[in-house]
Amino acid sequence: MDWISPRRLNRLGMLNMNRRNVDYIARYNERSSYPLVDNKLKTKLAVAEYGVTTPRLLQVVRQQHEISHFREMAEGLGGFAIKPAKGSGGKGITVITGRDDDNYIKASGARVAAPDLERHLTNILAGLYSLAGSPDVAIVENLVESAPSLAKFSYQGVPDIRIVVFQGYPVMAMLRLATKASDGKANLHQGAVGVGLDIGTGRSLNAVQFNRPITLHPDTGLALENINIEAWEDMLEMAARCYEATGLGYMGVDLVVDANEGPLLLELNARPGLAIQMANGRGLLPRLRTIESLKRPHFTPRERANYAMNVFGAL
């Protein structure tokens, strides 16, 4: 068994679960703001006022009887995504990329019939995927078409970029690439690849899968060293803006780059995971403490993004 000593972890500034919960989430995140991020529908509406774009909303299914309208609406669509508004960790998200006669084609290539999708909607409404099992609503969104420069790295699925924003400053970022093991989902503990991104430039640093360092994507076989995210400064600013929209001091912002519409906000997370540190090969604590000790915080998102790029950028 391999172990790392607590002293070494401290030296690396690794944030751990207990400290994250006590010193950051509990201290900087107002309980009353949680519904805003735990409910994707509310998130969409809240951030829209701050100029943060999200995938286009096609339909909201609130009641069981509204499910019958779903088929009519879906008739004319090429691709869409069904999401539980209160789902967490990508649970219950079904992505449909096209049609094949009466069947819908999922992102994985599997075909599902309309009744299966309706059953899925029923499950969502009953709260199967929501945090406390409470009744939920289903939202149907326009399908995100990933920018080809990034999409090629991912095995199915849409690569997304997780940025941890602390008091409005983007402090750490990573690119998440779906793999065969993760079933096309960009979920790290299910086996997606996490690629640490340099806050200063948007270039890739290290990559991990299942917490192990890797250099090539296990399915696409592409090298993960020289990925470069375009319009990096804009993305950081967009992430920083979410702080004004929600008031959450410590959150994870998940962005995607759409081929047509540019960066879009997928969802916010009030309890962002710790794996981002492994992907970056750096601990969060030094950066969080830098922000905490700031005498005069910057007021505009752009200023904060620039400050972060200068201070936290890799040399």
């Binding site: 068994m1 391999d2 172990w3 790392i4 000593s5 607590p6 070494r8 972890l9 030296r11 690396l12 690794m14 751990n16 679960m17 207990n18 400290r19 006590v22 010193d23 201290r27 900087y28 649970k91 059953r119 029923t122 499950n123 009953a126 709260g127 199967l128 099992g133 299910q190 991990v208 917490n211 192990r212 360092p213 001091g249 540190q277 492994m278 090969g281 750096r282 601990g283």
Partner: protein, 505 residues
């Protein structure tokens, strides 16, 4: 944002823990509740036997019985005497056991039994009414001799105690003067001593004591001298003037009332037998709880049914402590936060191995049935409800099959909380669909591991004993849980998880 000072929190936790522990220590000292199970305490069982011949008439027999004997506490009293009316009467500081019967003839035997616990701290209390010296008149020529002796003793003493000692010394055979010889005869020695002390203005009386030796029969009382020094009654050995009650001496009669009065009978006599017993210390504490001011803090006075319920309930905080420790400090993942505690409680009732077998079989059969349910496209609430009913079917089936096959352990399934099991199955099933069998195995094993740890802690006799008899210790448990809520260090599992970070150090 400025972090709030944690000092008040730590002070509160410290107070909570120290309050819990000191309250427990206090009750241990005051009530004698033992720290460990199975602790034994000596108890003296003393039986007074009254014999007399009744003369065909109504009988009333009164026996003086102890009332706050110094160095002992009375645990129980009972009388055995067929056909007699019995009561204990308290009158002007004397306690008497009284037997009554209308028509009695022939030799009669009455028994009075009492249990005494040796207790260093039990002192005789100050009498309610200040005792006064009795007026005694001596006839000449004794009066002169008494006056002489008292004057001699008085000259050599300063306090009632020293006066008594001097007087006793003067009246010993080897120091007797002419005056003394005139007065003292073997038979009246103690009575005379008491009379003389009273005459000199010191309240004095005779007390009867019983020397405690294991398994003695037909013992009689020994007489001692007691004087009142203005604060309390002091006991002296009238032979050698030694002050204080000797060890293993029980003062049966203190006060002026006579030891035995029988109206309607003659040839009455009383004799004593004694036995040294051991009683579980806990039983002693329980029996004394109601007589002690601290007794209200315990569960002993609740009805037995509620008591046994609390026995179970009070174990739960220990389970919660184990879960908190395992999740916060060790970092074991469990399915449902407190499911392991409830499973552990069920294990306490079923014992471990049968409980494990029952639990695993119910959950695995339930998971198979849940697989079918999920294809039915049901709403969540009705799916869970259906699952609860299925779980009940499964447990009933297992119980019946087990019983028919001769395994009584099959019956223990019923101790598991049905709703919790149904939810466990539901969660496991969703986990299986979403995260794969691997995660189900990890969380299931984690839950069972935590449940077994909690069970092992909760099922130790000491844990049950301490939680029930010292419920205030839960303050300390609460304090520990609160402390753990502030633990911001690495979990044990994180030391493993973050191992690849070594490459970047």
């Amino acid at each position: 944002m400025k972090p709030r000072s944690r000092l008040p929190f730590y002070v509160a936790v410290f107070l909570l823990i120290s309050a819990g522990i000191s309250l427990a220590v206090w009750r241990h000292i005051e009530l004698g509740i033992p720290w460990l199970t199975g602790e034994q305490r000596p108890v003296w069982m003393i039986e007074a036997r009254v014999d007399f011949d009744a003369d065909d008439n109504a009988v009333q027999a009164s026996l003086n019985v102890p009332d706050q004997p110094p160095g002992f506490r009375i645990l129980s009293e009972q009388a055995a005497s067929p056909g007699y009316g019995f009561s204990i009467i308290e009158k002007s500081g004397n306690r008497t056991a009284e037997w009554t019967k209308r028509d009695v003839s022939g030799p009669q035997t009455l028994y009075f039994k009492a249990q005494f616990i040796p207790d260093e701290t039990a002192l005789s209390q100050k009498p309610a009414k200040e005792p006064k010296a009795r007026k005694v008149f001596f006839e000449e020529p004794q009066a002169t001799a008494v006056r002489e002796l008292l004057a001699q003793a008085n000259a050599r003493s300063s306090t009632p105690e020293s006066m008594t000692r001097e007087l006793i010394r003067l009246m010993q055979p080897d120091t007797r003067t002419q005056n003394t010889t005139l007065l003292v005869a073997e038979e009246n020695y103690l009575d005379l001593l008491v009379d003389m002390l009273n005459h000199s203005g010191i309240p004095a009386r005779i007390a009867d004591g019983l020397k405690l030796e294991d398994a003695r029969r037909r013992q009689s009382l020994m007489s001692f001298l007691q004087i009142y020094n203005g604060q309390q009654w002091l006991t002296f050995d009238p032979k050698n003037a030694e002050q204080g009650v000797p060890e293993s001496l029980l003062l049966w009669r203190q006060g002026s009332a006579s030891l035995l009065d029988v109206v309607g009978g003659d040839n009455s006599e009383v004799s004593f037998s004694m036995l040294r017993q051991t009683v579980p210390a806990l039983q002693l504490a329980t029996m004394q709880a109601d007589s002690n001011g601290l007794g209200f803090l315990s569960f002993y006075e609740l009805p037995i049914e509620e008591q046994s319920m609390f026995r179970m309930l009070l174990l739960l905080p220990l389970g919660a402590l184990v879960v908190a420790f395992m999740r916060i400090v060790i970092g074991i993942r469990t399915s449902g936060t407190f499911m392991p505690v409830l499973i552990a409680v069920a294990f306490v009732q079923t014992t471990l191995v049968p409980g494990l077998i029952a639990f695993l079989s119910v959950v695995s059969i339930g998971l198979m049935m849940r697989g079918y349910l999920s294809s039915l496209n049901l709403l969540l609430v009705s799916r869970i409800s259906a699952l609860i009913i299925l779980v009940i079917f499964i447990t009933a089936g297992l119980s019946i099959i087990g019983y028919q096959m001769g395994f009584n352990t099959g019956m223990t399934v019923t101790f598991f909380p049905m709703v919790i099991i149904a939810w466990t199955i539901e969660r496991m099933s969703i986990l299986w669909e979403e995260e794969g069998a691997n995660e189900v195995a990890v969380q299931g094993a984690g839950s069972l591991f935590v449940a077994i740890c909690a069970y092992l802690l909760m099922s130790t006799p000491l844990a049950g004993h301490l939680t029930f008899n010292f419920p205030e210790l839960h303050f300390a448990v609460l304090g520990l849980i609160l402390l753990m809520g502030q633990y911001t260090g690495y979990k044990l599992s994180e030391l493993k998880r973050f191992t690849p970070m070594r490459a970047y150090d």
